[in-house]
Structures are given as structure tokens and as C-alpha cells.
Symmetry: C2
């Protein structure tokens, strides 16, 4: 690197570094779409679930749909209000996990973490499945192949994340604003047509609904209450993703807390309006949906529609009706809804590493997750996430209704635990706070969170009761497994920490002598390099060692050794069975036995190659030997790399730019890696 380069690098590098963090923070108009896709996308399936669940009791039950919609809206308001408190009180991005851990202790924090991890998997499975439904509605040939399409879509999102998407606020902003515009525009046009008396019926309006035998006598009794509660629980899927903003506070511009709270309010308002509009329009247009459409939906002549019937989602049905003279409108709505759902799945791929990083820091997951820019750690997480989502998609055949049964438990577990934590938070602050104005604010906040706790707790109970046997048990079992696993990992780290803690002056003792052993197989440059480096480190004893695997080669080596007059003695170890590892291990152990206070330093020449298949052809003996030597106390293993020409390929590959998914939501560096690399030779 010449002086000019250096100067340029320092200049550009420094300039970027100082301004960067500022640059990457999100203004509210960008933050809204970045964090909204997850929450808003649920309008793509949550209203459907209300109608589908109610369908069991026949058409009469549909009368409850808008009431349930309003109940969901109230819960939404409560949750938004509560999280407005959270984002202002906890601005570090730890979200519910932090609130729970700080206020309620480690088990509560872990409970929230398990719930959220399970939820990320379900977000992917549900969103992708729903997106596939929209795709199949718009593109008829996909019908009947939803499972495979959903699996491919998951693999696609996974691959994009593995490659490292060039995220930007705009990438989120355009589709999200388009989605809002499309849905709200459609709703406005629909209502206009309604008031003009021109609103057409949905395509399914002329279908009849065969109610289940339980409800043949109409909607009454315990079963009816249960059904309505279950419809409400399913509709609450609309609330998933609201909490995401609490993990993203650091990405906001200052004042971070206030801006996040405002964005949250906007988000809540939009979600609420969209959800209610869809719900009301579905009622006005007499949309018919059923849990088992093939048998439950009857044609006007009384025959069931049969297994070839494709049940279009509510929004599709609305768009098809409202834009009956304008098919482009229908395709636009279906397309942006599908895109927003895929974007929602993508946010799970971003959120997972963020949470994993926090859990890694606290020792509940492998610590490597804590360091950023670590491609391998992210890759593993992304593959795991996609893998589990695919298992769910295949197991439930990409059926959104059945997946939603598993979905909402996790969200409401973390809502409830987090609200409890917030309650404690305010109570604790109130214990020390003197200023009456502040106290009044805190009292008000505590009231909001108490209300939030009541509502979310109640919903959690409803969800647990009505959905446990419908599949929620699977989510709960998964949470339990994660909980136990994370405790075990932390336990392991704690035990190791205790084992390696410094507790006596012995730990500071110096070994008396260094006995260096250079492994040599042939007299080539890598061996010479290892020898000269070992000589440069001036050990007390230095010898070269070779294993006599092939007597002719050994003879040749000894001759060459003498020819070149190498000033290091060469020791030949016998190996009657052509092994390499064991003779060396035995020899090193014998040195240790002879003088236990010395250290033995083993220099191993290593080829550095650039292509994966070259790896298969080199260094195996070296690697295996290294692995075994590590188990021998008092032995150090020094790799002396010899860079073959092809190694430059790998060196270049390692420098290639890459950005961790999800960094935009954490207020992390943007376009940093590339620029820094670009200025380096």
C-alpha cells in the first residue's frame, strides 16, 4: 500500500466512520415501513381467520365478525399504548427480553426469549404460506401446489439472507407504502361504491355454509361462546409484529424513545383502520369462507364445492369485487399483499440474529452470536430458521388457518410477561422518585401497562383455552425445549467460567524451558520456513522430527538434510504400521515425561490453498495431529502457513463485502464493509 493509498484510506475511512452512525439512523417516515411490514401484513390473514373460525356455526355466526374485529382493535390499542411506554423506558433494543429480565429475573427473560424464537419461525411459516395463498389466487396454475411453492419461497428468502441483502430503508418503504395505499385505496373505493349503492357482492356471496352438527340448533350455549372466543383468538393474529419496534429503538433518530413511540402510534392506527375496513367490507360484500371449504361451502343447488375449490383470501375477494371493472387493481392488491407478506417473513430473518446476539451476549446461546459481522453465525441461524419454518410448512401443508393456531401463543406470552415487567418497572421507579410531576407520569404509565397486562393476559388465557388442542401445544412444547436448552447452555458456560477462574499464584508460573519440535516430511519450502521460524524463536532445545512412513522417502530426506547442512538435528521416528499421529504423540509425551515443567512447542508446516477441493488434498495429517496434540497438556501447536499461489483466491473471497441481515433495524453500520474494503488494496 503506497502513501497515497494509505492517505486515501485514512481520509475516506475516517470520514465515513465519524458520520456513519448518524447517517444510518432512520427518520420516522422510513422507520415506519421498516418496522411496519410484519404488523401490517397480518391484515392479509387475520380477518380471514375470524370468518373461517365462525364458519363452523354457519352463516348466522358471521354476524359476530365485526364485533370480534372491534374487540381485536381494542386489544391492539391496549398493546400499542403499552409498548409506547416500553420503547420510551427501554431504548437499548433489548425489547421484551430486556424488560422481563431486568424486572422479573432470568427465568422470565428466558421465557420471553423462547416465545420470541418460536414466534420468528412461525412468522416465516405463516407469512410465506399466506403469501403463497395470494399467489395461487392470482396465478391459477399454482393452486394445489401451495406447499412446494411455500417451501421454495422460504428457500428463496433464506438464500437472499445468506447472500446478505443490501438492505435499505427504501427497499422497505416502497412496498410498504404501496401496500397501505393499495389496501386503503381499495377500501375507500369500496365504501364510495357502497354509498353509491354500487358495491358488488363477493364471488362467494351466493355460496351457502353447512354448519357443524354441534351448531345445528343455532349459535347458543358454551360451545358458541367457545367458538366466538376462538375466532377472537385467531383474529388476534393481527397483533403479531407490533412488538418488533421495541427491539429497534436504537435505529431511530433522537429523541429515540419519543420517535419510536410516535411511529408505533402511527403503525397501530394504520393497522387498525386497515383491519377494520377489511372486516366491514367483507361483511358488506357477503364474503363466505370456511375451515374445510371443500365440504362446508355449498353451491346454490346444495352440492358442496368439492376439493378442487380454491378458497381465496378475504382481501383477494374484496379486490376482485371492488375492482370488477378494473382487473389491474385486483392484481396490484394481490401482488403487494404477497410482497408485504414475504417482507414480513424477511423481518423474522432479521430479528432472529438480533435476538440471538443478545442471548449470545448473556451466554444463553453460543457466544459467537454476539459478535457482529460474523457471517458463519448468521448463516447457521438463518438456515436453522428456514429449516424449522419448512418443517412447519410441510407438516401443515402451508395451511394458514392451521398454522395460525400455533402462532399467537408466543406473541401473547411475551406481551403478558413484558407488561408484568413494565408494571414492576414503574413500581420500582416510584419507590425512589420524588418529583410529583414525574410521579404522576409514572402513575399514568403504570396504569397503561396495567391495562395492557389485563387485556393481553386475558387474551393469552383465551388463546390457551381455545387453541391448546388445536396446535398451540406444539408451540408451547417448542418453547419449553428452547427454555431448557438455553438454561443448559448458560449452565455450561458458568461451569467453564468457574473451572478457568484464576485462583492461585500457580497460574502465573512460568515454564522452565521450551523444547521445540519441527515436523518435517520432505525438504521443501514449507518445511524450511517452519525450520527458520522455529530457529528465530530461539528455543532451548530445537530438533526436526520426521516419521518413517516410507523408508525410501526417509532415506532421501536424511541425505538432503546432510547435503544442505541444515544446522538442526533430524530425528527419525519409526512407524511400523505407517501411522503418523501416534509416533509423534508418543514422542511428544516422552519429552513431557522426561521434563514435566518444560513446554513442548510443535511446529507444523501447513499448506494454505484457495479452493475447497484443494483443501481435500492437503493438511489432513496436520489437522488430525493438531487435534490430538491439543489434548496433551503442556504442548503448544504452531501452524507455520505456507501460502500457495492459489491461496490468493481465498484471501480475495474473504475480503468480499457482506453485511449482516437485520442491521438496518439495529441502527448498525450501513454500506460500511464495502466502502472500507473498496479502499483497501
Amino acid at each position: 500500500m503506497g502513501f497515497g493509498d494509505l492517505g486515501k484510506r485514512l481520509l475516506v475511512g475516517r470520514k465515513l466512520r465519524s458520520t456513519q452512525l448518524h447517517e444510518t439512523l432512520l427518520p420516522k417516515r422510513i422507520a415506519l415501513p421498516v418496522f411496519a411490514s410484519d404488523a401490517l401484513s397480518s391484515v392479509g390473514y387475520a380477518p380471514d381467520e375470524i370468518f373461517i373460525t365462525l364458519s363452523a356455526a354457519g352463516l348466522a355466526a358471521y354476524a359476530f365478525s365485526w364485533k370480534i374485529g372491534i374487540a381485536v382493535a381494542i386489544v391492539m390499542l391496549a398493546v400499542v399504548a403499552s409498548y409506547r411506554q416500553t420503547v420510551q423506558a427501554y431504548q437499548s433494543g433489548g425489547g421484551d427480553y430486556e424488560v422481563a429480565t431486568v424486572n422479573l429475573g432470568r427465568p422470565a427473560g428466558l421465557t420471553v426469549a423462547s416465545a420470541l424464537l418460536v414466534d420468528y419461525v412461525l412468522t416465516v411459516a405463516v407469512s410465506i404460506s399466506s403469501a403463497t395463498q395470494y399467489a395461487a389466487t392470482a396465478i391459477a396454475p399454482l393452486q394445489g401446489h401451495q406447499t412446494i411453492v411455500a417451501v421454495l419461497a422460504t428457500l428463496f428468502v433464506m438464500t437472499m439472507n445468506l447472500r446478505g441483502i443490501r438492505e435499505s430503508g427504501t427497499a422497505f418503504a416502497i412496498p410498504t407504502y404501496l401496500f397501505m395505499a393499495a389496501i386503503l385505496g381499495m377500501a375507500a373505493w369500496g365504501f364510495l361504491r357502497y354509498f353509491l349503492g354500487d358495491l358488488p357482492q363477493a364471488e362467494t356471496a351466493n355460496l351457502h355454509l353447512a354448519s357443524e352438527p354441534t351448531f345445528s340448533g343455532g349459535l347458543a350455549g358454551v360451545a358458541a361462546v367457545f367458538l366466538i372466543l376462538r375466532a377472537f383468538a385467531s383474529g388476534s393474529a393481527a397483533l403479531t409484529g407490533v412488538e418488533a419496534i421495541s427491539n429497534g429503538v436504537p435505529a431511530f433518530r433522537k429523541p429515540k424513545g419519543r420517535n419510536a413511540a410516535t411511529t408505533l402510534l402511527l403503525l397501530g392506527a394504520v393497522a387498525l383502520v386497515m383491519g377494520l375496513a377489511v372486516n366491514v367490507l367483507a361483511n358488506l360484500m357477503h364474503v363466505r369462507m370456511a375451515e374445510s371449504p371443500a365440504t362446508q361451502l355449498l353451491r346454490p343447488d346444495g352440492t358442496p364445492v368439492g376439493p378442487s375449490y380454491h378458497q381465496a383470501p378475504v382481501i383477494s375477494q374484496l379486490a376482485a369485487g371492488i375492482f370488477d371493472h378494473f382487473p389491474a387493481g385486483f392484481y396490484l392488491v394481490a401482488a403487494v399483499t404477497g410482497i408485504i407478506l414475504v417482507l414480513a417473513a424477511n423481518t423474522a430473518f432479521n430479528g432472529f440474529p438480533v435476538l440471538g446476539s443478545i442471548l449470545g451476549r448473556d451466554g444463553f446461546l453460543p457466544r459467537q452470536l454476539h459478535t457482529r459481522g460474523d457471517r458463519l453465525a448468521y448463516s447457521n441461524g438463518i438456515i436453522l430458521l428456514a429449516g424449522f419454518a419448512i418443517v412447519l410448512i410441510v407438516a401443515f401443508q402451508a395451511d394458514v388457518t392451521r398454522l395460525v393456531q400455533l402462532y399467537i401463543v408466543g406473541v401473547f406470552v411475551s406481551f403478558t410477561v413484558s407488561q408484568t415487567g413494565m408494571l414492576r418497572h414503574w413500581t420500582r421507579l416510584l419507590r425512589t422518585e420524588q418529583d410529583p410531576a414525574a410521579r404522576a407520569r409514572m402513575h399514568r404509565s403504570r396504569l397503561v401497562n396495567a391495562f395492557g397486562l389485563c387485556v393481553t393476559g386475558l387474551v393469552l388465557i383465551v388463546v390457551l383455552i381455545t387453541k391448546f388442542t388445536h396446535g398451540a401445544w406444539i408451540a408451547i412444547a417448542a418453547m419449553a425445549v428452547l427454555f431448557i436448552l438455553m438454561r443448559a447452555i448458560r449452565g455450561h458456560y458458568d461451569r467453564v467460567a468457574a473451572e478457568i477462574a484464576v485462583d492461585s499464584e500457580d497460574d502465573f508460573m512460568l515454564p522452565s524451558k521450551v523444547h521445540a519440535v519441527v515436523l518435517v516430511s520432505k525438504l521443501h519450502r514449507p518445511a524450511l520456513r517452519a525450520l527458520s521460524f522455529a530457529r528465530a524463536s530461539r528455543p532451548n532445545v530445537l530438533e526436526a522430527v520426521t516419521v518413517d512412513v516410507d523408508s525410501e522417502e526417509t532415506k532421501r530426506l536424511v541425505e538432503e538434510w546432510d547435503q544442505h547442512g541444515i544446522p538442526v538435528p533430524l530425528k527419525v521416528l519409526a512407524s511400523p504400521y505407517r501411522e503418523i499421529t501416534r509416533p509423534i504423540l508418543d514422542y511428544v509425551r516422552s519429552i513431557r515425561r522426561a521434563s514435566p515443567r518444560d513446554i513442548v512447542m510443535v511446529y507444523i508446516p501447513e499448506y494454505v490453498v484457495g479452493r475447497w477441493w484443494e483443501q481435500l488434498l492437503h493438511n489432513h495429517s496436520a489437522l488430525r495431529l493438531k487435534g490430538r496434540l491439543l489434548f496433551t497438556p503442556g504442548v503448544l501447536v504452531t501452524s507455520v502457513p505456507y501460502q500457495l499461489r492459489s491461496s490468493r483466491i481465498a484471501a480475495r473471497r474473504a475480503e468480499r463485502p457482506w453485511r449482516a441481515p437485520g442491521s438496518i433495524r439495529r441502527g448498525g453500520p450501513r454500506r460500511t464493509e464495502e466502502q472500507r474494503t473498496g479502499t483497501r488494496r
Copy 2:
């Protein structure tokens, strides 16, 4: 290790070592079964193939079956006679590969090696498929599930080999001698009953054969000649495995060559008698077999037997008839035939590493294959072999007849090339030999090999012509791929050797100074150990380096550093994006830039754990960093291991006994590993 232990170990260890090599050599009575299973087992399917191929021309064609049997027997005699020359001339165990390489050059050797590698895969596929057929004949519920049974059987043999079978001569001797006794006993009993006029008909004797349209006018013309040649080619499957002994000469007692030749003669005689006996009996008992039994075999009323018909192998049919009043005899014959076939598959698992080791030595396969006792190398080979065999079994639905079409090419390629090599061998020797007696012997030997070459060459041409489109092209394509691959590997090794060859005095230069860097994350025992070891090696510059990933932890580290008064300066590297690798890389590179003639020695403390899941929780940053540092010239990476308590588990596991499959056939050490380990603590 106490003195008693040491004494015992030295005693027991030494005693074994000196006597061992003698002990493990095989007397002829054990060598015969060890090397015979492969060749003898083909009597389980080779006669069948003659009848099956002829079946296309209807019952009249069966008249040719015994003539074809005799032709195969003649080829067998020629091959045995030729290989008796080979085993005496080449006693190193290199077999056909060595003969071809030495006499005809590298491409010929590689051709033989490719052919043999492909053949090992086919040995497994054919033998296991045939064994499955026998099992399905004896155990009716297995019928129709042969593919999955064959796959499971392959996985079983693979697993046994991965675990390291405790091989012994006896393990081969008992089933092989049992097999000989069962088949020869059955044949004797059958001929006795024939001469007493009491030989029953085979179960299939009353079935008719629908000939193919081509042969509706009887057996005449080019098509007929072609068919008979093809039946002969299929029957030549009986010769597979004869060459195995040429790789096993070192395992024989002295005089190795003579003993191997005698064993080969015995083997040939037994195989010949068994094959002809089965062939003749099948004719006497009117066994009927067909290529597509479901449609080709007709009941007496003219209806085809249909897809549920299970075609029993010839030996099963003979046993069922000959032992019609003694069902135990039938089950014994079926069982030992099945076992000998599995044993034959097992020998491929043994032969593969032997050949791999030789190819590894010569640089055509990864060199690691050359060192014995290397479990990983063997494991990879075993898994590859099983994997390819399973692909073939599944692709051909464990159908022996279709697999045999691929099988014989490889064998006859290596036969032919090897005989050509032997011809050259004698011609070369004759050029210098003066002694008339020796010259006469050589002339005789050359004549034998010339005859062998003619016969095997002819068979190869027949096989190529009659079977190419029936599947032999797959085997040939696989051989071509292997040939190219092995040449490419050798080319790579040659290029690397040229790149690392010592060519100037610069290679002997010493670096001027050693700059040691100890990586520290916390002040715990592993870090202290790394520090004290680094200090003991007295570098010119020594400093500790930490990356500031978490400012609080860094602060704590710096404080503790001062508290303990550690006499090494601690350098804190900034890491705004919580990366570890890049700041260290940058720092190390800056040292190199400042003084390019120095070497930088990076000490990395490493945890050594014992359980695989603990590996997932530790050392990731260290490993990644190491991987990157290797690409930086002039940098040495020293791992300072800290053995956690759990590491003992892995240390014990590594010491567990294991013996490479196939060592019995190489005259290698027997029961060595175990006994040496048993006496070590």
C-alpha cells in the same frame, strides 16, 4: 503411570511387536477362505444369468447353457493360470495396478485402478442384491421389498466397517467352508439321486417360456450368436474376485508367491466344480428362469405368472428340489449363500482402502489415504463406496440381472491390461536372462500369459459388444471420470511440489525478530497459560492484545490486568462494529508492514472440550481468526490449549481401539492397536 504399569507396557508391548508380523501371516487353509468369498460367491448368481439371458430365445436355447458353462470354465482356467504367474512375479500386493504401471506405464495403471474402483462399487451392489434375493426366497414377506432390504443391508455392512470389524481368519473360514460344504454336498446328493433315478424336477420345471419375437423362428442367425455370446458374457461374472488374491500376496506365509499360487489353484478348482455342478443340475432339474418372469414365464394353461411371481435363484431352486424331504437343507443352503454374498460385499469394503492406499502413495488420490490406521480416511472411503452402491441398488431396484450388465467390464479391463503387462514383463526379463533353465521357465510363463491375454481380451470384446447398450456404458463412463479425476489430482500434487521445491539460498534465510502477540479476552487460566508460554519462548517483542467488543468487559480486563501486575503490556484494539477478526487482522498486518522481515507469532488460547456439543459453544472466534491469519504471510499461529475437565472424555475416545478394515488381507498388524492401548493408562 506407575512403574509397574510402565514395566508391564514395555513388556507386553515389546513382546507383541516382535512376534506380531509373523503371527498375522496366513496359512493356506485360512488364506483360501479369506480370499475366496468374493470369487466363490459369484456361483450364487453367475449360472442364473446364463439361463436368464438365454430365456429370450425360449426353452430351446437352454440347450446351450452347459456349453456356455464350459466356456466360462475354460476362461476361468486361463485366468487362474495367468494370475499364478502374476502372484509369483509381483509379491508386493500391488496386483494388476502395479503390473500395468510397471510394464505399460502410468495411463495403463490408472486405467486398471479406475476399473477396479468401479468394480468394488459393483461388487457391493451385485452381491448385496443377490443376497437379498436369497433372503426373499427363504423369507416370503421380504418379497417385493428387495430394494429397501438391499439398501439396509448395505448400510449394515457399511456401519460394521465404520466401527472397525474385528476381522480374523476364522470369521472368514467358517462361513466359506460351510458354503463350499453346503453347495458341494447338495450337488453330490443331487447327482446321487439322479443316478438313483430319484432326482425331482425343479418347481419351475412345468412353466413354459414365451420367447421374444426376434426368436419366434427358433435359435438361428446373427441374433442367436449375439444372444449366446451375451449369455456367455453374463456367465463370466463367475470370474469376478479371482484377481483379489494378487493384492493379498504379502498376507501369505513364505514362500509367499508359491503359496498364493497354490491357493489360487485351489480356489479356481473349487469355483469351477461348484459352477459346473450347479449348471448341470439346473439342466437336469429343468430350472426355468426369465429376464421378465412376470410376462415371459407361462403357467401350463398358457397364462403368464404375473407380477407377484418371485423368481428364486438357481441354487435356491436346486436346494428346494434336492432337499424336498429335508427343508432344513434348503434353509441352510439359502442362508450360507446369502452370508457368503454379504461377505463378498464386505471384501470390497476391505479392498477399497488397500487400493486407495496405493493410489494415495502415488499421488492419484489424496495422500492421506496412504497412511494406515487413519480412521477418517477409511471412513470417507467406506461411506463413498456404500453411497455409490446404494445409488446403483436404488437405480436398478436391486435387480441382479441388470446390475450384472455393468459389472464385468471393469474386471475384464483389468484382466486384459494386466495380462498385456505380464507379457511385457517376461519379454523384458528374457532380454537380460542368460540361464537356459530360467529362460525356458520364462518362455513358458509368457506363453501362459499370452493365452490368458487372448482369452480375456476376447471376453472383453464380447462383453463390450454385447453389453455396451445394456448398461456397460455406465461403468465405462464412471471409469473415464475416475481416470480423469485421478490424473487431475496427480497434476495438482505435481504443481504444488514444483511450487514448493527449494531453489535458492533465500529459502534458508532466518527472520530477524519475533514479535509475539497474545490474544486475551478475559483474565482466566487459559489466557494466563498462553501468556506464560509466550513469555517462556522469550520473543523480541511481547504484547497482549484484546478487542474491545464490550466496553465494560474491556474495562474490567484492564483493571484486573493492573491488579495482578502482569508484566506484559496490554493493547486494546477498537472494534466499533463488534467484530473480532478484522481488528486483529488489521493490527497484525500493520506490524508486518512496519517491519517486513520480522515474524509475528500470534498466541491464541483455546479451550479443549470433550463433547461434540461443547465444541459448538467454544473456540469459534479462535478458529475463524486462525483460518484468516493463515493467509497472511509471515504470521505464525500458536494454539495454546487449555484442557477442560470434559476433554478427558475425548482423549479416552481417541485412544479407543480400532483396526483398519482389510488389514488381514494385507498381512498387516492384527489385534495390535487394542493390545497396545489396553496396556496404556
